[in-house]
């Protein structure tokens, strides 16, 4: 399988980490805007879940539309979404898998005791059976050449 890659532009990785730390112990979420494999902006969005924000996030349709609009205004496209896993590893859960959209990059940052740790990026496989991990570049703390996969 072709390895997929996401490059975070200047300040994007830090912005995602900061968001995850600010909302801790709740999950943060936001949109990734850019072009091709390069993310030029992380757009924070409200976590509107009613099922416990420590373990869930939800981007409503209205906020999704706002993200599409902002991406266009920033001269880019919507490349995917990010969210945090408070006190959990930066690996997608079964719930993430069940609710994933294809062709989007899913960046996950682990936040342990309020401090951001690992950051990873994942894509849904076409048959929806699992996520494939990609290469994340541009985040000082998580540049990696390794790939792995998570079976759903």
């Amino acid at each position: 399988m072709t390895e997929r890659r996401t490059r975070l532009g200047d300040g994007v990785g830090q912005a995602i980490r900061r968001h995850g730390e600010e909302t801790y112990p709740h999950e943060c979420c936001g949109a990734l805007v850019g072009s091709d494999d390069r993310v030029t902006a992380a757009v924070p969005l409200p976590n509107t879940t009613e099922e416990g924000p420590r373990r869930r996030f939800l981007v409503r349709p209205t906020d999704y539309m706002l993200a599409e609009k902002q991406a266009s205004e920033l001269g880019g496209t919507l490349l995917g979404f990010y969210h945090s896993h408070p006190d959990h590893p930066a690996r997608p859960s079964q719930f993430d898998l069940d609710h994933a959209w294809p062709n989007f990059a899913y960046v996950i940052v682990s936040v342990a005791s309020g401090v951001s740790r690992d950051m990873t990026v994942w894509w849904l496989e076409e048959n929806r059976s699992r996520f494939e991990e990609g290469k994340l570049n541009g985040d000082q703390d998580s540049d990696s050449d390794t790939t792995a996969s998570l079976h759903g």
């Binding site: 099922e51 869930r56 859960s93 959209w101």
Partner: protein, 102 residues
């Protein structure tokens, strides 16, 4: 009767990168069935294994969520616009039982 359907970014690879396509049908359900016949890659991402729209797939008739109309039986006309709008959800725990709109 062809009705315009707006396609969100993650599904455009299945519609030749088009952000809007046309499909035919008298109801939302018929339109979506025609849409997935014409663009077969969409089906697995719109419908679950039981043939129901996935909980995080929102379908709007103009500005109204079809869940608050007649769901997939909602009548459509050529002057209407259908929008497929994602909810994006996830989280760290494995044990939660989701309660979306279904």
């Amino acid at each position: 009767m062809a009705t315009r359907i707006l396609i969100p970014t993650p599904l455009r690879p299945y519609t030749d990168k088009k952000d809007a396509v046309e499909a035919e049908g008298a109801t939302v359900g018929e339109l979506l069935a025609d849409l997935t016949r014409k663009h077969s890659g969409l089906k697995a991402h719109l419908y679950n294994e039981h043939g129901k729209l996935r909980s995080f797939v929102n379908v709007y008739l103009n500005d109204e969520d079809i869940r608050y109309l007649q769901k997939e039986q909602t009548p459509v006309s050529a002057t209407d616009t259908i929008s497929i709008i994602p909810s994006v959800a996830g989280g760290s725990s494995h044990s939660w039982i989701h309660r979306f709109h279904n």
